[in-house]
Symmetry: C2
Subunit: 114 residues, 2 copies
DNA sequence: GTCATGTGCAACCAAAGGTTGCAGGAGGCG
DNA sequence: CGCCTCCTGCAACCTTTGGTTGCACATGAC
């Protein structure tokens, strides 16, 4: 079946730093490039670029609040992303199991026939 | 909880070309850089590099066969990778649901108190 | 008004995915 | 054996992307 994957969405969550950022935004509800960079091993500018990627992918939404730009996770879109991860994982699992079953069937047949 | 993710494993399956290669190897049982490149939009050399990455990540194993180098998926390791994908997806889902439940609880409380 | 803090833009660097080009090794066949 | 074919491996090079530093600008606090 080869699960159809939204490549933009996947590449957005493919980066480890971006995943950590999503984690932080989830646990803290919201954050800015500056606050996030304080909890990450990269500079504010790097975080800002990542926020741009996540924004274009629709995974986060920005809300200007005074002089800062507050980001928060878009629930629906992250849910979609989570579903895709699960789907790909599930398909691989299914295919591996199918192969195992076939292998066992052949094994059984062999011992039957001698 | 922030699911611990094996970053090497994840980055190996993070590339779309490598995922397609794994799909091909699964459906066809095995393949070489040359046979895979014929079914992909990239050159043999690019495929060879990706096979190197997948090999170092342990996701595939090479078996020299005459003049060709036949690769096949390492079942256990791909199963591990699939589990990680599912785990991250599941955790995001759980956290989103937790947030939703809390939001609903607050909503309920508000209408209770007037 | 001044100072501190947060944002935005630009130049630059290194790693990774991809390409072309070429040299080398293993099989098939006259 | 000699030749041809096909597959592999290495090297140089380009482009994108994650990351950095440096600087200009805006906004809130005092």
């Amino acid at each position: 079946m080869t699960t159809a994957v939204d490549d933009d969405l996947w590449s957005a969550i493919g980066d480890p730093t971006r995943r950590r950022m999503l984690d932080l935004l989830l646990t803290e509800g919201a954050g800015t490039a500056t606050t996030l960079s304080r909890q990450l091993p990269v500079t504010r500018q790097a975080v800002a670029k990542h926020l741009g990627v996540l924004d274009r992918a629709g995974l986060v939404r920005a809300t200007p609040a005074g002089r800062e730009k507050r980001y928060q996770v878009d629930d629906a879109e992250l849910e979609r992303a989570a579903a895709q991860l699960a789907a790909v994982g599930a398909e691989w699992d299914a295919r591996l199991n199918r192969i195992k079953r076939i292998a066992e069937a052949i094994q059984t047949k062999r011992s039957d026939n001698g």
